[in-house]
């Protein structure tokens, strides 16, 4: 099939006129045809927008979106000018999602790769079951964040709610503000020069300075990797 010789590099879709399925199909078709940038108007808090886009394209939402925005994306660059609902970037494989607002619960759930930046606050269970992606929250996160995190990096510039890092397996968590409580099998680890460099690399592009907060590092204590009868009460009280 011959591609059109004059591929438009930028286009706009008004979500009002289409079903979510039609919008996502258009985004996939535009990415395949080499369009670089799409602006989506009136997303109106709809769920499942820009889910499953597998080719590089820049997608900009001009307003708040609903649940699962950008989920399963591979190589997409998504910007949301507003807040988002539950599970933004769930199962993200690669690419970036930037939310210029707040994120509801489960931000970055199970994300395997890529980077999700919440410039406001995130709700409970941020980075739940994170599998390798980087999740950055400029504000606070709710309770049970990084629950069962397996790999990757969670950077919280503000405060963290109760049970941070409960039952985590691996990966690293940085918190600039206060921590209500750590979950089972999470422990503090001294910050190294390399950690401060990592924070600088991740935060400076967002206009945030790591030096302005007393960042703490949390990793897995690895004490619950194997069941031991003497740890029974700790297992019983997990979550």
């Amino acid at each position: 099939m011959m591609l059109e010789q004059t591929t438009r590099l930028q286009t706009t879709i008004d979500c009002t006129a289409f079903t979510t399925r039609a919008i996502n199909q258009q985004l996939k078709d535009l990415a395949s045809s080499g369009v670089k940038q799409v602006d989506l108007l009136n997303p109106a808090g709809r769920h499942n927008l820009a889910v499953g886009v597998q080719k590089p394209i820049q997608i900009r939402f001009q307003g708040p979106v609903g649940y699962y925005c950008g989920g399963l994306g591979n190589g997409v660059q998504i910007e949301i000018e507003g807040s988002c609902g539950w599970s933004v970037g769930e199962n993200l494989v690669a690419g970036t999602i930037t939310i210029r607002g707040n994120a509801s619960a489960n931000a970055g759930a199970s994300a395997h790769g890529g980077r999700i930046c919440v410039l406001g606050n995130a709700g409970s269970r941020a980075g739940i079951s994170l599998k390798g992606a980087t999740l950055i929250v400029a504000g606070n996160v709710g309770h049970s964040s990084a629950f069962m995190m397996q790999q990757g990096r969670l950077i919280i510039c503000g405060d963290a709610g109760a049970n941070l890092g409960d039952s985590l397996y691996d990966g690293e968590i940085f918190v600039g503000g206060s921590i209500a409580s750590l979950g089972a099998d999470a422990r503090y680890e001294p910050m190294t020069d390399r950690d401060w460099q990592v924070l600088a690399t991740e935060l400076q592009p967002l206009g945030l300075s790591p030096q302005s907060s007393p960042f703490k590092k949390i990793v897995c204590a690895q004490e619950l990797y194997h069941f031991k009868a003497r740890d029974f009460t700790r297992w019983k009280d997990v979550y």
């Binding site: 109106a44 808090g45 609903g66 539950w86 509801s104 709700g123 409970s124 709710g142 309770h143 049970s144």
Partner: protein
């Protein structure tokens, strides 16, 4: 999954919008709960001694027989039949001590297909199996004038789909609740409340919440104390909206497992399961406060604006049902 919504106006000049706004708010939430829906609406135009009683029937009851029996027990100021409902205004001026719970129980025993939907000076509950649009049309709710209300769209997970099992639920005059979630210690709570005299009318786990709140308020607790206690006693996942004659309240379980978003502007307070429902409000202001309540957060708003309260639970248990 279910959808819930609540609205409370800060100024009386907004009251004429209630029916239309509440129906608009739950309409997009039909995707969360497509089988049935319902609303509890509060209008405070009544005479103090007048009480509104709404009866619903899924069978073929002869309403004139119901009315005749009722008129022997209580003075009826007005009555009207709307499709499957009988709406009555009872005049309690000469019978101030009348036991209304007993009256409703007797009525349901004599007419087993009849179910009392609501009772109260301000409260009216309308619910059915079907769409929001059909509910609004059937009972002409778009023109309902009132100060506040709550609504629900249901996807049944625990009990049968019929009108009686739809939300909102009530357990006493002017009390209504809607619930998104599941109550995991339902049977235990039900047993305990029945020991205290509660009469359950459905097998829906959400009904226990209405009886629980009624029990605690009856013992003299303010609504916020009852809701703090609820967080200790009710297990499961829940976002619950509670309405009384002059209050609207929100409570969320310790895992914040079910969604809720709060919108507070100069004109109104609105709570919905999903943000997109706000966009149905004709004067939605995106710069107003929009936030999510935290786990174990209790919010109570009053019809008179200076009485607004918000606090986190954590106060010690008061009188309690023993778990």
């Amino acid at each position: 999954m279910c959808g819930i919504a609540g609205i409370l106006y800060r100024h009386p000049e907004q009251y004429q919008r209630l029916g239309k706004d509440l129906l608009s708010l739950i309409q997009p939430l039909e995707t969360r709960g497509p089988d049935s829906c319902g609303v509890a609406l509060y209008s405070s135009q009544g005479v103090p001694s007048h009480l509104k009683l709404l009866l619903h029937d899924d069978g073929n009851v002869q309403w004139h027989e119901v009315r005749r029996w009722l008129s022997q027990e209580v003075s009826i100021a007005r009555s009207q039949v709307t499709t499957d409902m009988l709406q009555l205004i009872l005049n309690l001026k000469d019978q101030p001590g009348l036991d209304l719970n007993r009256l409703c129980q007797q009525l349901e025993t004599l007419f087993p297909t009849v179910h009392w939907a609501s009772l109260g000076q301000a409260l009216e509950i309308y619910k059915h199996v079907g769409s929001v649009a059909a509910l609004g049309g059937k009972y002409e709710l778009a023109h309902f004038v009132g100060s506040h209300g709550i609504g629900h769209t249901r996807m049944a997970t625990e009990s049968v789909v019929n009108t009686d099992h739809c939300h909102p639920f009530t357990a006493s005059p002017d009390l209504a609740i809607v619930h998104n979630g599941q109550i995991s210690n339902y049977y235990k709570l039900r047993y305990q409340l029945e020991q205290m005299g509660a009469v359950f009318r459905t097998h829906n786990d959400s009904e226990v919440i209405a009886h629980y709140i009624h029990y605690h308020r009856q013992s003299g607790q303010p609504l916020e104390a009852a809701l703090d206690q609820l967080l200790q006693d009710i297990d499961g996942t829940y976002t619950i909206l509670v309405a009384t004659a002059d209050q609207l309240a929100l409570v969320r379980d310790q895992y914040a497992a079910k969604p809720a978003v709060i919108y507070e502007s100069k004109e109104m307070v609105v709570i919905v399961s999903e943000y997109r429902a706000f966009l149905t409000l004709p004067d939605f202001d995106p710069t107003a406060t929009v936030r999510e309540p935290d786990a174990v957060e209790v919010n109570v708003w009053s019809v008179s604006p200076e009485m607004n309260q918000q606090h986190s639970a954590g106060s010690p248990p008061l009188t309690s049902l023993h778990r």
